[in-house]
Symmetry: C2
Subunit: 359 residues, 2 copies
Amino acid sequence: MQVTIKDIARAASVSVQTVSNVVNGRPVVREETRARVLAICRELNYTPNAAARSLVTGSRKMIGAVVPHIGNPLYGEVTTFLTRAARELGFSTLVGDTGWETDAEMALLRSLIGQGVDGMMLASTTDDGAGLRMVQDAGIPVVMLFNYPLPCPTDSFRLDNAGAFRIVTRHLIGLGHCRIAFARGLARNVSTAREEGWRSELQRHSLPHGDDLVAVTGIGQEGGYAAGMSLLSRADRPSAIVCSSDIIACGVLDAAEDLGLRVPHDVAVTGCDDMFVAGMRRIRLTTLRYDHRALVRQALDRLMDRIAGKVGEDPITMSTPCDLVIRDSCGMKAGLRATRVATDAPSPRGTTTIGSDTP
Amino acid sequence: MQVTIKDIARAASVSVQTVSNVVNGRPVVREETRARVLAICRELNYTPNAAARSLVTGSRKMIGAVVPHIGNPLYGEVTTFLTRAARELGFSTLVGDTGWETDAEMALLRSLIGQGVDGMMLASTTDDGAGLRMVQDAGIPVVMLFNYPLPCPTDSFRLDNAGAFRIVTRHLIGLGHCRIAFARGLARNVSTAREEGWRSELQRHSLPHGDDLVAVTGIGQEGGYAAGMSLLSRADRPSAIVCSSDIIACGVLDAAEDLGLRVPHDVAVTGCDDMFVAGMRRIRLTTLRYDHRALVRQALDRLMDRIAGKVGEDPITMSTPCDLVIRDSCGMKAGLRATRVATDAPSPRGTTTIGSDTP
DNA sequence: TTGAAAGCGCTAACAG
DNA sequence: CTGTTAGCGCTTTCAA
């Protein structure tokens, strides 16, 4: 049925080893032989059997990628970059999606481990590190992306979560807001760091920062809608809501609209990630921007080094700084130390940024 | 290094065959033996080597999934459903993303074929079927999702593209629009069918339907923006634009805004796919809705049947009907034969649907 | 019910 | 430069 290395060898009147050498580009074959073998491979439409190769080399040239929800444009983009970059390095990617459920994550990881992936990129749903531990116990190199357990026994690539949310909170304080709420996301440790950034800045200015100003959101835009409803339908409603993602912010914007509140006049809203929706003319959401691709790229490079055994055991942590992208969802204020962003295509009108204070 | 079936056999004082029988749940092992073997497997943390198993069974329990752009929320959602559903069936999914580039698609397919996937779900970028042919030549079952070549030598699961765009065009005509443009997407055959639907309905009402009313868009929201700019900055600008996706429509909305045109007063806009952004209070885009999950599910079931050899060679075509979801981007008109949609969470206010005419 | 042997397609190690 | 041999870890076939 399948064309094997033996068929090629027979047809080319050489040994299987020579075919193997040709196929793997090893420079020990006479040019004439190589050409003949290659021609026959093409003719017979030969494809090396990856399973057989894996069995003997011990490497499948595959990595596993686990994200909470691929349908979320942020994780979708991340998956895009990751699969492309990995492919350029000769690795296929087994992708899985947990739906923010711990059980699903464990099952998924078990399956990926069983497939014998060479390494794992883990944008985890769990915070206790159970999944990470299981992968490590299986002897598979792991790199954490975005979320991380505490303490984190492997490399972690993420935002400077606390610094980023200090910046955005400071911005709102500078605009005169006194009651600033925080809409938490689902990734616990990430959210805790962000909440810390939010709270520390409020504390520094002696502004309210109690737990009553924190709302935990559910999944997606609907989760943000519920959080927005809960925060904005109170008597002492906040004048600003800092959201853990643009998607959450979208839900909050809808909640404000349904409650008859104008943004930014009645309530200011900020997001995080600078997805395309944040830049839409009808949304114009002030948000935090960082370089997704660079972060993913660095994480992948590190994972490759680990797979190659090029690095020691010592875990590293990489925190990417964020830029504040000022649009219209908090009110515009002239004279800020702000600059246009050239990359805010197609039309940067009204967009300004302020750099992160934690480079 | 790795724990193998032999280690288990030795530790349990049985043969490798017995271990294999236990691990694969074959009911030929005495209960006592099975329990002992299972205990030792757990103790030694044994994971069967998938490569070795694949080598002998000839199946890797993996499918390949190729989509144009995972970062596009539509394809992101599709990837989510697909990977989950496949996992439930015991299959892992190798995911790849072409960036709408034919060369990238061919390279990706070659790589997936090389990995020995058991089947391929192809939301193709190419229209000439070159990729499809390559996969079939490799003897791998393929099912097409969304896009398809003509003629299509395998199963195809897609929208009733022509019917869907007849409905939305008819709706606009019913609202009194006379100059209705069409913003084409990138998938050629899909777009051609949609254009046919748009055109046939205009023809039926003796309205303009020339190529000057068709704009071909680029990738994503920015592509839609450019198309919108080109259509709306003309002297004889259309009073309505039918867009091939919600993302394109988002770009057109931005273009309208930048040109100082109000929606729907100066120009009506419609989308397709009913993504979350279409339902946002500030967007409220009239669009076409269909059941993504069901479509993916049916396509996957068919692929599984093909993999199992349960179906003959005859390709089938499945065209899912669409519903029109009426929101505010075309102007509302009372008294239509329209009903509320219960599923338009969180708040269905102002949303109505009209069923497809091609069930 | 269990065991022994053969071999899946490939690569690594060594011999020619 | 090329060929031969010996497995990789597992399942399948057949024998006990």
